[in-house]
């Protein structure tokens, strides 16, 4: 009889723990964005660029703060590092990772490039009228010359969306939308870099001074 009572208490404890665990898991969504990014088909600029990825950029994580929304915890850092490591070597002749923008650079760097995330937003279908997972990432791109002076500072807003589908989980759909958004920033950066007015002017000036040096 005592054995049966102990068994019932044990099973009840187990059931309570299980329900508590399921409740906790059910309320939170953790997503580590993963995917592959192709190398862009573009004309490479004959420049050596020092890239500054600060710690926050490398490990960027979105943690939901709003109480009305599910507890989303989205790791973007690794995926965006993968994207920039695929895009930048196609944009420039040589890309070197550097700790910080420095006037006294020993690597003969022509430009320093420092990307950062300013804002991240997303929607899941339960929050909108459309059956779409949407992601917006606002990037701030800074370019400094070899002496460390700021040349250009501009914003690229990346957007990605993916439709909801039967048997597709929130995590899978949001991961897809994230990859599309990251590809979008890669497209915006690689196609418009030389058209940013300040960079265009700098490239023109550099080209003229190189021509003047040649006999």
């Amino acid at each position: 009889m005592v054995q049966l009572k102990n068994d019932v208490i044990g099973m009840t404890k187990y059931a309570v723990f299980l329900i508590f665990f399921i409740t906790l898991v059910g309320c939170s969504n953790t997503l580590e964005v993963t995917g592959d990014f192709p190398r862009p088909v573009i004309t490479t600029l004959p420049l050596t660029v020092g890239v500054v990825y600060d710690q926050q950029f490398q490990t960027y994580r979105y943690v939901e703060q709003e109480e009305e929304r599910s507890d989303w915890n989205i790791g973007i850092g690794k995926a965006q590092m993968q994207l920039f490591n695929a895009v930048l070597p196609a944009m420039f002749d040589q890309v070197i990772g550097v700790e910080q923008v420095s006037g006294a650079n020993e690597n003969s760097v022509d430009l320093f490039f420092a990307p950062s995330i300013e804002e991240f937003q997303f929607n899941v279908p339960t929050e909108t009228k459309i059956k779409m997972y949407e992601v917006w990432i606002k990037y701030n791109m800074k370019v400094h010359d070899a002496q460390g002076s700021l040349i250009a500072d501009w914003i690229i807003t990346a957007y990605g969306k993916t439709p909801s589908a039967f048997m597709k989980s929130d995590n899978d759909a949001l991961n897809e939308a994230m990859l599309i958004a990251l590809r979008d920033v890669g497209a915006g950066l690689s196609l418009r870099f030389r058209h940013v007015p300040e960079i265009n002017a700098w490239l023109g000036q550099r080209s003229r001074s190189q021509q003047a040096v040649q006999p």
Binding site: V41, I130, M132, R183, G186, A187, L191
Partner: protein, 223 residues
């Protein structure tokens, strides 16, 4: 098995057949120019993803691609993702050419033109549209008891598909023609203890209709 049981089974069987066949598809095509797809040449089927409130589903694109490549007269179809990745970042949702003159402009870039040549692409089929739920009705309630889970009720919903495929000739830089497909269907879910979904394959029917029309489009040209 007595007559009554047999009768019930026949009624249930007929009802299931009637319920699952509730999809109507209409396909139209306009052909401006003759196609001339020679052996070894390829086509690529790509979804338009620039719409704000909808997105052409990747599974529809792969369904059309698979249907086109099947059979004796199957075409060489380049998988969408492979093609888009090879030409990154030129065929992304916000950068893909929406007009022929944009494609022409893009092909001035030698690296891009080289990739098209490597794939031996002759036709680009752009598919735009989506499948959406247009109506839902009914109710269902489920309960948990010591003996298990049971549901009772009836639900139904309508889906509508609308797609249009534009066929571009990469070599002549001309619009060859268009194929459109409209499909509607109603799905049902009766539940007596166990819910039985009777899904109308609206998107699959739209894909089938569009693929067979596109195959006809090219059938006269494969040499």
């Amino acid at each position: 098995m007595n007559n009554q049981q047999l009768c019930i089974r026949v009624i249930i069987g007929c009802s299931v057949l009637l319920l699952t066949s509730c999809t109507t598809v209409s396909v139209d095509q306009v052909k401006h120019l003759a196609t001339n797809l020679t052996s070894g040449e390829s086509v690529v089927v790509i979804g338009r993803r620039s719409g704000r409130n909808y997105e052409t589903e990747p599974e529809l694109i792969s369904c059309i691609g698979n249907s086109l490549s099947k059979g004796e007269a199957g075409l060489n179809v380049i998988p969408e993702q492979q093609f888009v990745d090879s030409l990154y970042p030129w065929f992304e949702p916000r950068t893909a050419p929406t007009q022929l003159r944009q494609l022409q402009h893009l092909l001035d870039f030698k690296q891009v033109a080289q990739i098209f040549d490597d794939y031996n692409v002759h036709y680009i089929i752009w598919v735009d549209g989506n499948t959406e739920k247009t109506r839902s009705s009914g109710s269902m309630s489920c309960g948990i008891s010591a003996t298990g889970v049971a549901c009772f009720g009836f639900g139904s919903w309508d889906h509508s598909s609308e797609y249009e495929a534009s066929v571009w000739d990469y070599r002549s830089h001309k619009l060859i023609g268009k194929v459109s497909s409209v499909a509607d269907g109603t799905s049902y879910m009766p539940a007596v203890v166990i819910p039985i979904p009777l899904i109308a394959p609206v998107q699959a029917e739209a894909c089938k209709g569009m693929a067979s029309q596109l195959k006809q489009f090219f059938s006269t040209s494969v040499k």
